[in-house]
Symmetry: C2
Subunit: 109 residues, 2 copies
DNA sequence: CAGCATCCTAAATGATACTG
DNA sequence: CAGTATCATTTAGGATGCTG
């Protein structure tokens, strides 16, 4: 965005976790290291384009490590860095809020 | 988005707080009720278009109330609902994470 | 398997001008 | 004051096809 993003430290979180998929990917990685196709499988509907794009940004911002194993077939493992793992309380707070929403559908998640 | 958004309850938070301004507006409203121009003043760079759009969506989702006083000049006050106020822990968690980021700029915010 | 290249859509946002 | 209307920009995301 062209926005100056002046307001506060929260902005740092917002630019990184921009877009709905970003948060969901982090949420999956909080469960442990994942390969590319594993992430695709656990995130129904995501396109490889989007997944790659988000993972690259996470790498750049230092919340995810990418480990490529030079094998046949190739194997690439994505894992949260310590900084990335510190995002768990934020995700938990989001989930807690969503669960507390009264009329919005099935809170059974 | 055309996304199915199937994953989890967190998605409810994500669709509502979509875009960088959305979270920042809620953050300001957590400090208390605000008038339209007050919000504009506390959110440098936001356009009235964007502010109106976000506030309308917050109204629709039941996290903000809009109170219009039929006076001259008109006065409209936006205030978080109880559900909206429950977003505070989430915003706090975001801010806490951002403050914990080591190399990202001035953590003095 | 793990992408990348290319084209396209939708939505959030911005700029500017105007109104009840 | 509190918006609305219109136009343009930016970007997340999707679809498809191809490669190392």
């Amino acid at each position: 965005m062209t926005t100056p993003l002046p307001t506060c430290g929260v902005a740092r979180f917002l630019v990184l976790l921009d877009g709905p998929w970003a948060t969901l990917i982090v949420r999956e990685l909080l469960r442990g290291p994942h390969r590319f196709t594993e992430l695709r499988a656990t995130l129904p509907g995501i396109s490889p384009h989007t997944l790659t794009s988000r993972l690259r940004q996470f790498e750049t911002h230092g919340i995810v490590t990418r480990t490529a194993h030079a094998e046949i077939p190739p194997r690439v493992v994505y894992e949260l860095t310590p900084l990335g793992r510190e995002l768990r309380p934020v995700l938990d707070a989001m989930a807690a809020w969503a669960a507390a929403v009264p009329a919005a559908g099935t809170p059974a998640d």
